[in-house]
Symmetry: C2
Subunit: 211 residues, 2 copies
DNA sequence: TGACATATAGCACGTTCGTGCTATATAACT
DNA sequence: AGTTATATAGCACGAACGTGCTATATGTCA
């Protein structure tokens, strides 16, 4: 979640207008993609002139980077922070996942999870945007991994638990739920994800039978 | 997998040039997306003039539809047909999944699975393209469901097996592997997907312990 | 109050987008 | 051989793209 100096500084010194622009841009980008997020469209939605808005960012690439960082900030506020003081281990892992699922289910943005759509869009376009996106999403995967490892150390999950595989599966369930819901309007997908997570964790809890 | 009359007719009456164009367009679209697939870029890659190429399709939307259909044709040839005469039930289900995984792993297209990237791109853009994409991907999900149901009927999977949930999980594993590989260059992701599928199927096989 | 920094708008640029219209090759058929 | 259908190219259009340059408001501080 390390941010480039420029945008982070600009965000933190209380530039309310910039924040408002980014609120709009995350919304557009979630639906139209980071490339579909055009300056003209964003200016209209934000009620500004193209050049007036553009002055806040030196380039489209900077706008995309700032948009990703804004989304990461929201993600941290809504998902990471609220679960920081939950009891460590499986309890907190489940809380993190449930918060994540709910954020996708309630979809703060018009187009659902921005990181999901941006991933498919940018994974073949080398550059700073792709790099930042990879960094942000990886940090979430790592956070989940760390919590699962902690659960193993606490004796809540089995010693022989393949943590990386577990997080791969669980992470996949949530992304699949987003895909199913967004493309096929399948609202049950979120409960499928919940059930799947529950199923897998029950297996790996200490005291269960070996797989 | 029903195709629009126009494009299907054009494909089937042996228009080799059109097929060659679509081979290029699927490649571009897999990497740049269906919107990033521009007429000019496609013309250059195909060694034609913009207008000369455009004459084969009445509109960009038609080009996108034809590109999706071409990808679906390849999908059918490489994944569905070769597994059609595998022994029905779990064996064939696994064969379908393995063929699918390999097609993503070896990635015929430069940008990986076209349906995956197109899903994230189009899920918020109502229209014919989105509709066709939803139809094509759904038909694959249905095919997997049917094979799993058959496995239950054959007594290979447990009676109380929640087939819809099972396919949700398995389908998610493969999509997650594509995501992991494409964005994070994580080649182990495909083995994770294989291992996950194997794990889940072993559980649901008759004779195992109840979950 | 005057100097100065900042935010916004106006305008224009070169490029590329999708998409028409028209002319010319090439192939097929009578 | 002459007509006709098809494929391709040339060209131009209006619009939107990202991005500069310049002028004007709107503060902030001396």
């Amino acid at each position: 979640m390390k941010a480039s100096p420029t945008t982070l500084k600009s965000i933190s010194h209380g530039n309310k207008i910039r924040l408002e622009i980014l609120r709009v841009s995350t919304d557009i980008a979630s639906a139209e993609g980071l490339e579909g997020l055009t300056i003209g469209r964003l200016a209209k939605d934000a009620g500004m002139s193209k050049s007036g808005l553009f002055a806040h960012f030196g380039s489209k690439e900077d706008l995309q980077l700032a948009t990703l960082e804004a989304a990461a900030l929201t993600f941290a506020e809504q998902i990471i922070e609220p679960t920081a003081n939950v009891e460590p281990g499986v309890k907190r892992l489940v809380a993190m996942l449930e918060a994540w699922i709910q954020s996708v289910e309630k979809s703060n943005y018009r187009g659902g999870c921005l990181f999901f759509s941006a991933s498919a869009e940018m994974d073949d376009r080398p550059g700073k945007v792709r790099d930042l996106l990879a960094e942000l999403t990886e940090s979430w995967v790592i956070a989940l991994n760390n919590e699962a490892k902690l659960a193993v150390r606490l004796g809540e999950l089995r010693e022989d638990c393949n943590v990386e595989l577990l997080i791969f599966q669980i992470h996949g369930f949530v992304q699949e739920a987003n895909w199913f819901y967004r493309l096929h309007n399948e609202k049950r997908a979120f409960d499928w994800a919940r059930k799947s997570i529950d199923q897998i964790l029950r297996f790996l809890r200490t005291g269960g039978e070996k797989i």
